[in-house]
Amino acid sequence: MSEPTHNEQLNLEPTHHEHHVVGPKTYGIIFGTLLFFTGLTVAASYLELYTFNAVVAIAIACIKAVLVILFFMHIKYSSRLTKLTVAAGFFTFLALITMTLTDYISRAWGLW
């Protein structure tokens, strides 16, 4: 095998990432899906689901957020470095919320 050229070496760099252009068709489908889920979350809020009202509302919001992040913000087509950064950020955020809430539910709070 011959010696790799300068550009071929650069292609092996971890910071190298082939750029991907997301087209209008993908954007259109995601746009329609987001509007559909908006209608769905409003409709679901009028149903009597007891504690599951909040669960459904947050689940739909999470689905919408993931769609925006993956397609509008191009994370689906991003490098592993960017994917890892975003995932680590949201994981840290969830860890902080969970730790705060475990503190609140595990104390013998009085009445206010």
Binding site: T5, T15, M73, T82, G89, T100, Y104
Partner: protein
């Protein structure tokens, strides 16, 4: 790789390495690497924003658990129609922004300017509706600290609403404080975003993003979509608490 190593490359390859785009900063090897680095930096900034809004979401979660009846009646004071319209407006603006990024990728100057202008218009529509909602809160005396009365919650004008005891009715101030803090910070992000967009439109018209690189447009798009995501969570949490009651 040092300069001697480059000199030992085949002639045509060494030549390629010297022809680079004028917008490639000298500390980057390739345009892709430069794009990757700026996108990485933008995401780090957005993660600090996640933590910023996250603090308010956590406060919301805890107070909602403590004063749930107050949060229910407070939420019922918001207009679900205006909230839903605003959500749709913001999703539309995210779509126009995404199309703007696509136009910049395709080097279509006029399309880029058009999509950016559409995003600005939708941003103003959102802020206009929000301002109308704030005005209504003021008239109903639902602005904690400035203009607040528990009258509506101890003696509801709507016969379907249950009257709250005075101490729980006072806690609606917690709900409205969080409402104004969260939607207010979100609106501030919209104002900042629209201000930046106005600059981007002028520069886009001059061809700044269709002749050279479009990383600026791409990173601004990330910011705009992030603001959209914040609203995607604010809408169900603030407007849709127990609508069936």
């Amino acid at each position: 790789m040092d300069s001697q190593a480059i000199a030992t490359q085949p002639v045509h390859d060494a030549h390629e390495a010297h022809v680079h785009a004028p917008y490639l900063r000298h500390h980057f090897e390739t345009v892709e690497q430069q794009r990757e680095a700026s996108s990485f930096g933008m995401w780090l900034f957005l993660l600090t924003e996640v933590m910023f809004f996250g603090g308010m979401f956590t406060a919301y979660l805890i107070y909602r658990n403590w004063y749930y009846p107050a949060f229910v009646v407070g939420s019922h004071q918001l207009s679900i129609v205006l909230g839903t319209i605003n959500t749709a407006v913001l999703i539309c603006s995210s779509f126009t922004m995404a199309m703007g990024v696509y136009s910049a990728e395709m080097k279509q100057r006029k399309a880029l300017v058009g999509w950016l202008l559409a995003t600005i218009v939708l941003g103003f529509v959102f802020l206009g509706i929000k301002a109308d909602e704030y005005h209504e809160k003021w008239e109903k005396h639902h602005v904690p600290g400035l203009n607040f009365s528990i009258q509506e919650f101890t003696h509801p004008t709507n016969p379907e609403e249950k009257a709250l005891p005075a101490d729980m009715a006072q806690k609606t101030q917690v709900y409205f404080s969080l409402y104004f803090a969260m939607t207010g910070m979100h609106a501030l992000h919209m104002v900042v975003g629209i201000s930046i967009l106005l600059v981007l439109v002028v520069r886009a018209w001059a061809g700044a993003y269709t002749q050279g690189h479009m990383t600026t447009i791409e990173n601004f798009g990330l910011y705009w979509h992030f603001v959209d995501i914040v609203w995607i969570f604010l809408f169900p949490l603030l407007y849709l608490i127990s609508r069936h009651q």
